[in-house]
């Protein structure tokens, strides 16, 4: 066990390219690997991997393991668990990281139980303890009200999934060199017990929440789908994406795909305008990376005012139209 070496990232691909979460992990993982004086490795599972491995090296990996197999085209729990178990046995990494994505959330805990080791889910920060050289994994607990720092003492690999935007990718350096090694999946189709028969994805029109520089987020106080329409002219003027807290999604006023928070999207805009959002810890978990939060809420005691830089206490129905007109005048 003492021989486990290196930081291994289980990467993800979007349209054949390393996903943003993977680039972030390569950035954060590089720092851990350097501190330990150990290599940074990347595992890429998929079908038709193309140049993704080279990109992995450009973004910081020393070694990339590619597993190219038709059965790995889309994420399937059994197939990915089996391949990752094989890689971990072959490579014996010290640390194994994934993104807190639909894949990482499903794969990491099950793999940890298979490998009989601990995983810290949805981490905000990873560091190496000077004395023990073990990984300190900081994660939000109690809905974001507190932070817990966890250590995996007796077993390897030390595992974690990392929240989106918690780490910064490095600049790509095409001149970096590294090793690429193909690993055979060795999968037996009959061992994959679940099958994806259909995927239904909503095409997001306009600016994606994850990339937006300005976000207008509506909460329960917006009270209806029509209420959300009142935010549209403002969003259009500011070239903003529209987001929501959970209740508007649960109530069907807006699409569940625009939920921001602990179990929704993680955003980090320059400006986040929260309208009729109370600022629950679970909501703030998704937007505390915003550089400036502006709150419009009729309740002066609302928690959102503790998180905001600017605030207006009052009824959004009256504030938003006047605010929008003035913004149009100033911006337009």
């Amino acid at each position: 066990m003492a021989d486990n070496k290196g930081v291994l990232i289980c990467g993800e691909l979007i349209d054949g390219k390393p996903a943003p979460s993977t680039l972030e992990l390569l950035g954060g993982g590089r720092a851990l690997a350097d501190k330990l004086g150990e290599p940074l490795m990347l595992a890429l599972l998929g079908s038709g991997l193309g140049d993704a491995a080279k990109e992995g090296i450009a973004y910081g990996a020393d070694k990339v393991f590619t597993v190219d197999d038709a059965l790995l085209k889309d994420y399937a729990t059994d197939a990915y668990i089996s391949v990752m178990q094989k890689i971990v046995q072959q490579v014996a990494p010290n640390i194994l990281l994934m993104g807190t994505t639909p894949m990482g959330r499903d794969l990491a805990p099950r793999l940890a139980f298979k490998l009989e080791t601990a995983v810290s889910m949805d981490c905000l920060e990873l560091a190496i303890d000077d004395a023990s050289k073990l990984m300190l994994a900081t994660r939000a607990v109690f809905g974001g009200n507190a932070r817990g720092v966890f250590l995996c003492e007796g077993t390897k690999p030390q595992m974690a999934t990392v929240r989106s935007k918690a780490m910064d990718p490095r600049e790509a350096d095409a001149s970096r060199t590294g090793e690429i090694a193909a690993i055979d999946a060795g999968l037996d189709a009959s061992a994959v017990r679940t099958k994806v028969t259909n995927t239904v994805k909503e095409e997001v029109a306009g600016i994606k929440l994850e990339d937006a520089e300005v976000i207008i987020a509506g909460g329960r106080g917006i009270a209806s789908a029509e209420g959300f329409k009142m935010l549209d002219p403002l969003a259009a003027t500011l070239k903003a994406a529209t987001g929501a807290s959970r209740p508007p999604c649960d109530n069907g006023w807006v699409s569940p795909s625009i939920q921001i928070g602990l179990t929704g999207k993680i955003v980090g805009p320059a400006l986040y305008i929260a309208v009729a959002v109370s600022g629950s810890s679970q909501h703030m978990a998704g937007c505390s990376g915003a550089k400036n939060i502006v709150a419009i809420n009729k309740d002066p005691e609302a928690n959102i005012f503790k998180e905001a830089r600017f605030g207006v206490v009052g009824d959004f129905n009256k504030i938003i139209p006047a605010f929008t007109d003035k913004v149009k005048e100033l911006v337009g």
């Binding site: 607990v141 007796g154 017990r193 502006v294």
Partner: protein, 267 residues
Amino acid sequence: MPNMIVCVKQIADPEAPAGSFKIDEAAKTMVPAQGVSQVVSPFDENAAEAALRIKDTQGGKITVISLGKDFVMDVIKKPLSMGADELILLQDPAFEGGDSHSTAYALAMAIKKVGEFDIVFCGRQAADWDAGQVGSGIAEILGIPSVTPAQKVDIADGKVTVERVITDGYEVVEGTAPMLITVSNELGEPRYPKLKGIMAAAKKEPIIWSAADIDADAAKCGAAGTKAKLMKLFVPVKEGKCELIEADSPEEAGVALALKLREARLI
């Protein structure tokens, strides 16, 4: 008719006002504030609802299992009052101080003792430590397939069809029972218990099992079976310097806010 198991955890209300949240840093525990009630962890109510929707159309049996201590009967019986059939409480000092590994182990041993089942439902994450591991862990220990997290679950002739929540949508996943499924809020609101259900639940005695009752290996239970060590628990400090824009009317406040954001070069 499907046999279903639902794992639920009793926790302090996760939606209590942020201001009431307190921890004991030395003991590394959360301190339940005055007036904050105990609840069934919200996603576990969604899990119970998923099982009940199957029972609504096909019948079958729902067994609820909870591991913990200091159970509040009115709270932990909620799934029964919603329409579940049995309640098993895993209560033993040996289970205390556990983490995801020891909790999943004890729940898996209890499920083995229950015997036959088609689907085990869990919440996507318990809303106290937000770990999101125990469901997958139970599936791994039992050696059954798992799908996480679900917004819709159907079963017909042992074939299970799940809508799995993914970014910007869902995927339809098919497999065969027995299976473990974790459930998310996208499934929809859990039903309110009806008076009849509440009365039936009040009369129902929970079954209480100790570690010995489920043949659990003491070394894998509670604190002895943990693999993750909590080094520190703290509440992050917030700057909390909000500049409130004041004006004579809401309309004027809207105008003033726009000017303020311009001045701060935010728009």
